[in-house]
Symmetry: C2
Subunit: 135 residues, 2 copies
């Protein structure tokens, strides 16, 4: 690949009827599909469990119900984690990052976070890399 | 916001000249701008430091140089963390998640990860939420 930059993402304004508190809706920096990335971390062990996507409605449900709801990009529907698998994510805290395009959701994860049955979606999926260290 | 789904993301195929190993290039599920989300975690304390974005070239540089390189969506350019701030991220490991749209980069972070000066981009940025727990 050359140094040619990819096309800029379309940044979507807050929907007119966002269910979120206005300060939160104003701070979100949504991608072209109206979504922000949501990193899910086990609150006590600090394992990074998975990454999902949220629009305003999914974040609203997550902030107000005690359970994590995502928006599925592939299925184009809301998805409350654990409704079919039983692998519920109980919300402990939600933080929005400095530039508004990422959420950190701390949860208590019941069972496996990954649909493949592993505890996290990253477990056993390391790529071969050159590591680095301060010299 | 209604239940009306947002438009589906355009999933971009591997660029013809991806510098990545072919198995990695084939596994990546890129968004409409050719990017995947990269969660950056401190390798020993397990703090989630920040979330950035990578295209094939940024991931290639991250996998082969020992330092983390992102693709900046706002500036539309490559950005090797620490080149201007000194806050280098030394690569410890890289994992690609089960569905290929998220990376977990474990690093040794020098100084603050956030451009605002906080250790992480989420620190002190909690939203007010209803927590949940198993009943």
């Amino acid at each position: 690949m050359s140094e040619q930059p990819a096309s800029a993402p379309v940044i979507v304004p807050a929907p007119a009827t966002s269910p979120l508190p206005s300060a939160v809706a104003a701070a979100l920096k949504r991608d072209g599909a109206g979504l922000v990335a949501a990193v899910v971390q086990q609150f006590d062990t600090h394992e990074v469990l998975m990454l999902g996507w949220m629009d305003d409605e999914a974040l609203h449900r997550t902030m107000t119900s005690g359970r994590v709801t995502f928006y599925s990009r592939s299925r184009q529907e809301y998805w409350r984690k654990g409704d079919t698998s039983g692998h519920v994510q109980w919300v402990k805290s939600v933080a929005l990052d400095c530039d508004g395009d990422a959420l950190l959701i701390r949860v208590d994860q019941v069972g496996a976070a990954c649909h493949t049955g592993t505890r996290t979606c990253f477990e056993g999926r390391d790529l071969e890399v050159q590591t680095g260290e301060a010299v």
